[in-house]
Amino acid sequence: MSGVRAVRISIESACEKQVQEVGLDGTETYLQPLSMSQNLARLAQRIDFSQGSGSEEEEAAGAEGDAQDWAGAGSGGDQDDEEGLVKFQPSLWPWDSVRNNLRSALTEMCVLYDVLSIVRDKKFMTLDPVSQDALPPKQNPQTLQLISKKKSLAGAAQILLKGAERLTKSVTENQENKLQRDFNSELLRLRQHWKLRKVGDKILGDLSYRSAGSLFPHHGTFEVIKNTDIDLDKKIPEDYCPLDVQIPSDLEGSAYIKVSIQKQAPDIGDLGTVNLFKRPLPKSKPGSPHWQTKLEAAQNVLLCKEIFAQLSREAVQIKSQIPHIVVKNQIISQPFPNLQLSISLCHSSNDKKSLKSATEKQSPEDHLYVLEHNLHLLIREFHKQTLSSIMMPHPASAPFGHKRMRLAGPQAFDKNEINSLQSSEGLLEKIIKQAKHIFLRSRTAATIDSLASRIEDPQIQAHWSNINDVYESSVKVLITSQGYEQICKSIQLQLNIGIEQIRVVHRDGRVITLSHQEQELQDFLLSQMSQHQVHAVQQLAKVMGWQVLSFSNHVGLGPIESIGNASAITVASPNGDYAISVRNGPESGSKILVQFPRNQCKDLPKSDVLQDSKWNHLRGPFKEVQWNKMEGRNFVYKMELLMSALSPCLL
């Protein structure tokens, strides 16, 4: 017992106190609970003593003054007592109304008693009846009431009218304001979206992306001007805006970056001008556009210019095997032989000359919108990088630079990790890589599609993955025979399309790397298809109960194929009488031979050596099947028919 320390338990009554208020810090201020007498007083206070004695009230009010006087004169000593009572027993106060009423009643009674006693003596006072002609003055107050009511109503009506007038005025004013917007309110709205500063008596704004991390040297300022050239007498046009912006002349109009891939090089003479002003301008509304749209367009022009400037700078700096060409507003690069990627800046201002050229005949659009979008993304990323390198807050002792770079020291990054941090590929390199990938992907798709449409047996299925990286995508290619999808599943290829090459992953894990040339892929797929046929025969033999005597994917005998190797298989019927030999090459096609038992060959010359009849069970020579005359819709079906024809009848 003594070892255990006593546990303190504090008992507290449930909170009966009323909460007066709860402070902001959560403390509660309680009301002190009422004492018994206070409680009684509180209850008594609720009783309305004046109720039910309404008729006496008027008289009581009149007598009250007297009563108080009387009380003051009559009980001066009492008052002291009472004051004492008030001090120490405030609970007496609630009975005050009762006391007052009683006292006034007493006073009245006293007065009445005095009057009556004096009247009874008939010495000083007599009672006389009052004359009854008090009717006309009784009507008077009614008319007076009517007049006063009328007057007050009229006053009220006037106030209401005034208010209504004011309201209508303000409504019309509002409408006017809507038409004729206030310059200052417009300026306020402008200020919410754009950076403005005051220089001298001008208001200048900033269009550039410098605050977002851009390093483009264009100043990108615009000027805010007050639009005053409007005739106030005439009707104000609806889109009138008192605020206008003046944009630098080189940022006017609209611009976009155009990325396209062309198969062959155009004439040198066309360079730089072909792609100008191709897109028809969106029809501008009559009148000047709103400042917001104007500024947004100008900012877009600025960004496009920045992208193009960055690209052309890189194009000149980067050494590549085939140098990038920068001509006028176009950058031309050759990602693959006979293929050119052109990135051009199309900037059309609103003047008449450009409008005229815009109406020229248009060639079919060959935009690569994905790349155009990616260019914008890349430049933003670039901006973000420059912004984050000077990001605050920053440890005072750490070197300036990217956060990962800052951690490289304390986390002991080795050379490779530091190199990976510093790898800064340019915009152009990235976009060329993306373009290469996009081109390779579309070319692969085209190759597979053309093969699939050209060759019906076997069939090619391509399943493209929906989600791709910008530099890599994959497709799954299945080669099947119609009607035999379940048994012939031997060829499943996974094609990983990269930037310059295609990696083919075979079902058994073999990896083959193909270059960007489409012929390689085509040849590969053709050889796979020819192998598929032989695989299919093998599978079919299993199902039909035939025995596989020999199987080879790459036969070393026979005519040499220009693509890949021929494959061959020999299967024997369940009882061993017949054998079918199939040789299938990607180029030479299929050749099917059937071997008969010796006794079924009539044209076989009688041999002197094999006299005994048992030798008749030896297999005889091969005979070629005229495959194109066989019935059946495809190779495997024909083979199935052939096999079943050669199988012994089970009945």
């Binding site: 002792s397 750490a398 490289a408 020291g409 304390p410 002991a412 990054f413 080795d414 990790e417 530091i418």
Partner: protein
């Protein structure tokens, strides 16, 4: 980042340090290792200043400030058997400010320099340990890149070392035993270098005493 083993290669009999190093590098080149520039690890000793020592007369701890060219942005500060601090290279400047607490031991700078070889997954660095103007010994560092748990790849490392160093193959470094199954880090490499330098320092003191 892999597991590293640092060891000392004794100088072959009848040959100079330089010749032994050449012998080793030639062996590596014969194996087919690729030369990848040079490397350098240096170490400077600081002892706690007298003013800050306790009155009990306890000996001042030694602190080693090391750099490794493999981690070019880092600076390592180690106590013997103590913690290892990894900082960025500004730490050197900080040490100058801390003169009152840590004083640089005179002529204590010891370093190893040599060539860096890449052989498949192994990174081999053969260096000459120098203290002042004279060469004191040979350091051999072998790093196996794909693994970060020392106990998992020690036998592989050992096999490679046996192949390469022959009879002079070292035992498992003590840092491997300290943290079983733990992830190997750059600090562990530096601890090994520190131990190697200390060993070489003691070795060279003996002959000097003998001469006297």
């Amino acid at each position: 980042m892999g597991v590293t083993c640092v060891s000392q290669m004794p100088v072959a009999e009848g040959k100079s340090v330089q010749q032994t190093v050449e012998l080793l590098t030639r062996k590596l080149e014969m194996l087919g290792a690729e030369k990848q520039g040079t490397f350098c690890v240096d170490c400077e000793t600081y002892h706690t200043a007298a003013s800050t020592l306790g009155s009990q007369g306890q000996p001042g701890k030694l602190m080693y400030v090391m750099h490794n060219s493999e981690y070019p942005l880092s600076c390592f500060a180690l106590f013997e058997n103590g913690p290892c601090l990894i900082a960025d290279t500004n730490f050197d400047v900080l040490m100058v400010k801390l003169k009152g607490f840590f004083q640089s031991a005179k002529a204590s700078k010891i370093e190893t320099r040599g060539t860096r070889y890449q052989y498949c997954d192994f990174l081999v660095k053969v260096g000459t340990v120098t203290m002042g103007p004279s060469a004191r010994g040979i350091s051999v560092e072998v790093e196996y890149g794909p693994c970060v748990v020392a106990s998992d790849c020690w036998s592989l490392l050992l096999e490679f070392l046996q192949n390469f160093l022959g009879t002079h193959t070292p035992g498992a470094p003590t840092v491997f035993g300290n943290r079983h199954d733990a992830v190997y880090g750059p600090a562990d490499t530096m601890v090994q270098y520190m131990e190697l330098f200390n060993k070489i320092r003691k070795q060279q003191q003996v002959p000097v005493a003998g001469i006297r």
